[in-house]
Symmetry: C2
């Protein structure tokens, strides 16, 4: 840890934290991403499968909000997943502007296989931290994340 102040104690502390946050997140994402890509899925494609697998059918807008990407991006991701027969778009009959996206049986099966492995891999990568440390980290990140969400 740096001992001389460069930008004031508060700023130095926060900058150090932010660097470590970005690095850990990027590296974690790269490592899990490599596994996912071995199943012929990109990371965002897997993100959509995971969401639909855990939450059931969602609208395109919901998917974008949860993944923190723009609608145009969701459209492309879904186009590719649809070409592979993993998901299907269903125009809502109540509100015809809305499209619900859901897993096909093939998508359901892909989700189960890939997510099971993903969960194990995430656990393995995290295992350098004890369970207690992981809980601590989660708690702190949640507090930070919620506060940041407000400021968006």
């Amino acid at each position: 840890m740096r001992t001389t102040e460069q930008y004031g104690r508060k700023a130095d502390l926060a900058l150090t934290m932010w660097v470590k946050l970005a690095r850990a997140s990027t590296t974690f994402g790269r490592l899990t991403g490599k596994d996912i890509e071995q199943h012929g899925l990109t990371q965002p494609q897997f993100g959509v499968l995971e969401m639909l697998g855990h939450l059931g059918p969602l609208t395109i807008g919901d998917i974008g909000k949860r993944m923190l990407v723009t609608g145009g991006c969701v459209t492309v991701i879904l186009d590719n997943l649809e070409k592979e027969g993993q998901v299907e778009r269903i125009r809502s009959s109540e509100d015809r502007r809305v499209i619900k996206v859901q897993l096909t049986p093939k998508g359901e099966s892909t989700f189960k296989t890939v997510f099971r492995k993903h969960a194990d891999r995430v656990a393995e990568l995290s295992s350098v931290l004890s369970e207690e440390e992981q809980i601590q980290l989660s708690t702190l990140l949640k507090k930070l994340g919620l506060a940041l969400k407000e400021k968006q």
Copy 2:
């Protein structure tokens, strides 16, 4: 926090942590990125300026390693910064394969202005956590980050 086990306690714990890590990092990056872009810099451009400002001249390879991006990407970032007169490439005379990149006086001045504001902004965004919590978070993230680095 989810109370029923889905993938085993360890995996659930790790998955929860990873989701929060990714979200906090993405959101933090978006918010600081918006500030940076108001100075006519992209996030990676700012990343290079910051590195050179704090560490002095670096080779292109070093920049890529530190930013966790490929060499091809660094080339593009530097091309754009060079067009703006913020950095210059200097071919090393000892080893003519190597290029050292350094800030121009203009780059020096941009770095000082923008980083000062950036530091304040990062401190502000982090202020939802107490100093002690920030230190805790840093420590945990460092432990995680270092372990992940090994596995790359």
